[in-house]
Symmetry: C2
Subunit: 213 residues, 2 copies
């Protein structure tokens, strides 16, 4: 069964799924969407994912959407290597870390929100400050959690769902010039991930549609 991932090199939600696919050793075809040009709103992509958001993963006729749902599906259909701990409390902690990023940071900072702020008269400096504010808020919460539960990665010494979300968010934080000095635990995970083949394979600069500066 050939899988197809609808992705965009710098977008954090498909980046999460690329990490999960790489961790699980799943091969896939890559379809690039240009989010600036607006590919995601075109009829061709709406036929794949009516919501017009990335990612979407076509698993052979059935299309999965929503990055967290896709990662949970990967975990359930390919349990090894596990990206969730075995005990319910550990799983709840990892999912809470993922939720802080996927619910409380990223939704406020994506392309369509920036467009909407612009439309309502917020200038570029205001949009940048807005973006930084939500990243900082979320990282302020994540830092002590990772300091407590992390042993190299965000929870323990192996990559989990939390790292699938965290590493793309760190990439975004760097892109939007957030000072990471106050976050040594997060920076530690970021360094660990930079040396891991799955995180390297999933990195924006290593995608077919990459346009690194």
């Amino acid at each position: 069964m050939a899988y197809t991932l609808y992705s965009a090199w710098r977008a954090t939600a498909p980046y999460r799924v690329r990490i999960g696919l790489a961790l699980k050793g799943v091969a896939y075809d890559y379809v690039a969407l240009d989010l600036i040009k607006g590919d995601q709103r075109e009829p061709a992509y709406r036929a794949v994912n009516p919501q017009g958001l990335t990612p979407a993963l076509d698993i052979g006729g059935h299309v999965l959407t929503q990055s967290l749902a896709i990662l949970e599906w990967l975990e359930e259909t390919r349990p090894e290597p596990a990206i969730l701990p075995t005990d319910p409390l550990g799983r709840a902690t990892v999912r809470a870390m993922a939720g802080i990023i996927a619910c409380d940071i990223h939704p406020l900072n994506n392309t369509r929100v920036g467009r909407e702020l612009h439309k309502r008269g917020v200038d570029p400096a205001g949009i940048l400050a807005w973006t930084q504010r939500w990243i900082t808020d979320g990282f302020d919460t994540l830092e002590p959690m990772i300091a407590k539960y992390g042993k190299g990665f965000a929870f323990g010494d192996q990559p989990t769902l939390a790292d699938c979300c965290l590493i793309p968010q760190v990439y975004s934080a760097n892109r939007y010039e957030v000072d990471l000095a106050p976050y040594p635990a997060i920076r530690g995970v970021s360094e660990q991930a930079a040396a891991h083949p799955a995180f390297q394979a999933a990195h924006p600069n290593n995608q077919p549609d990459a346009k690194p500066a």
Copy 2:
């Protein structure tokens, strides 16, 4: 073990967890936070949940945060009645529905975002239009999914994680005067839930801190 839920009557994220707790038949103590007054930012609550967001569920020494993580934890520790289907594809669909609400609608519309928009010069009418836009976007995606997979509830004929998220979001849509005429499938689920004891118990108007108009 006595559980304590930190909640606010109208906030949709704790409302989701109240539905889950009621569906699973879990008793709990209720601590009300006044989000307008800012209880969630006070040191007393920061000691419970440093992020300063609702809900938090104290399960006897350990505090769980993030509504989706709490609902998944409930499902794993109390499998009956199930709020996720048994097959991975069904589970992915339910989680995608939950994600559309919990990641793509609600984070853009909560109290702290309204405050931030106000600070950046967006007037009350602009904030209302902003709120309505994200609800409408999300409901436009959910409506055909529920029409396809729902049989009374959002996925099948029993409440799932999707309904735990959908019903609070419908409550919020009504509060923010979103026209639900274009969403017959969503309205159908809402009517079904209104007759269900767990959804009744979790309803904002039935909370200790309710101030119905």
